[in-house]
Symmetry: C2
Subunit: 326 residues, 2 copies
């Protein structure tokens, strides 16, 4: 079923294992495009599972990218290598900030112990979560000690992605207006560490106090997320964030929650792969008689309602529970 | 396959057709939960296709919710009824703003010609796009002339949802910091109308000029998105936004783009339904021997890589192209 190893797959695998940043970049590009990637990922999988995967999320404008770079520096000063994967259209890594300026921190961009990569966040129907997990695996197999995954915490996909990290830091800011802070309870609940960034701004005390109050009001949980204040561009509080992240990692290792997160991650990984496969199957069989294209036409013309059309398509594609009758 | 009409379905259908706001709300709740919804949607589908569906998107803090209310008022003063569907965790309609204040505009909340509804944006794996389309159909069938769909324009799902509208207005703001404006080209491209909200702030001229420059630099298209400045709380520019939206609608009717969007919408609708069905199938068959649960366990233990496990699961579920061999 899967294609024979392309001419480049062996070189990519060897390059990833050797920590060759050009090959790592090419491997992630292959993951984004989906070409030949099953074989590549199958071959690197045995070397994964060693990196510490940390999610960084929060609204646009919270300063996540700058904080990610400062966290990378802090980990480097502890002798650990760091991969950064940005799944955030507003991230300067992702080519965002078209109306603004890009962050420049040349020292970190030239450090071979740091690899920064953005993921294309548009157009890959169903493939973003899958490609991001692949990128994390590639960086893991390449030997990076820590992999930071940056997502903007206001989209469903992006929240689902960051939830696959072992530890999630939620970055908030004071004073950017109440609207900006309007994060639904769902995302506050996934935070293992709260970061109040831009804490030199007015309102930092209030934001931190409100978070603490919220934690007091919710049912006590075995891990209480610490609240850390930072001013990322000046590096203030960054060490405390690393300490909080590592402390949470230590706790995971001694609690049953660590295992639960591994299950959650494996589940999300498989679902993302299955979804993408399903999309590809529908698209590839679209022109068949009574296929997807005809269904689209019928729904568009209101000759058939979408529920009936989808039901019919689904019955054609998916086996009954009895299965394997052929 | 689909369940017999539940005791409430006929009442819901009749209530929706009668424009009964309680029944409309119950019908949307049914769409969110997914219970009995295929039959409900099948029965209302023949009455859909008349509403004008307008998407409103942009980053958190752009003032989309206030603008949506002001647009609703402006349409009302032209004698048209309006449904609003908010798919935005930062929207006050959606119960966001937990650290801030809710917008109060009591006059509009009590107008029977306006129906405002937020969608739960977390936890419904794959179901958000489907449920949102259902809500739009319900409001359409209930006779609302205009349906506004508000999404936060920084998540993949949310962008995909707003793309199913006939006309998309992208709301930006000056002066909230460059990070906030860091919207990727992908979302700028889906805009049919640009709104520079909070235009009484410093930098409004610059933001509008940058957008105009961007439009000058991209290849000329048959529709050039107008750039409208607003101060939504004061109602300034709101009439001009409605005019721009309606002008785009008129253009759609006379160009081939109108048909293309109908196809895009029917396609997205069917895909969302198929995806959700697929998820349900995987979950319901999870405990089978060699099913999803076992695959999760094997991947978690690194006994099998996720690509091979997903391939195996997929082969079990999905028929070969020859199909229907049984």
């Amino acid at each position: 079923m899967s294609p024979a190893p392309g001419p480049g797959t062996s070189e990519l695998v060897a390059g990833v294992f050797a920590g060759d940043s050009r090959r790592i970049g090419q491997a992630i590009s292959a993951a984004e495009s989906g070409d030949g990637v099953p074989d590549l990922l199958r071959r690197i999988f045995p070397r994964t599972g060693r990196a510490r995967v940390v999610g960084l999320t929060g609204p646009p404008g919270a300063g996540k990218s700058t904080l990610a770079l400062k966290l990378a520096q802090a980990y480097r000063s502890r002798g650990r290598t760091v991969g950064v994967v940005a799944v955030d259209p507003s991230s300067p890594f992702t080519g965002g900030a078209i109306l603004g300026d890009r962050i420049r921190m040349s020292e970190i961009y030239t450090d071979p112990g740091v690899f920064i990569r953005s993921m294309a966040t548009r157009g890959t129907m169903g493939g973003l979560a899958r490609a991001t997990s692949d990128a994390v695996d590639i960086l893991d197999a390449a030997g990076f000690d820590v992999v930071l995954v940056e997502t903007v915490g206001v989209g469903q996909d992006e929240v689902d992605i960051v939830k696959t990290a072992e530890t999630v830091a939620l970055v908030l800011v004071p004073g950017l207006g109440d609207d900006i802070q309007a994060i639904k309870a769902g995302i506050l609940e996934i935070a293992d560490v709260f970061v109040v960034n831009k804490s030199d701004r007015e309102g930092a005390d209030r934001t931190a106090a409100e978070l603490a109050m919220m934690l007091d009001l919710t049912a006590a949980k075995p891990w209480r997320p610490p609240i850390v204040r930072t001013v990322a561009p000046r590096g203030e509080g960054v060490t405390a964030v690393v300490d909080a992240i590592e402390s949470h990692g230590g706790w995971l290792n001694t609690s049953s929650e660590g295992g639960r997160r591994e299950v959650r991650r494996a589940r999300a990984r498989l679902l993302a792969l299955l979804e993408e496969r399903f999309h590809r199957t529908i698209e590839s069989r679209a022109p068949e008689p009574d296929g997807f294209e005809e269904a689209i036409r019928r729904v568009r013309e209101r000759a058939e309602d979408p529920y009936s059309a989808a039901e019919r398509l689904f019955e054609r594609f998916v086996r009954e529970p009895a299965g394997d009758r052929a």
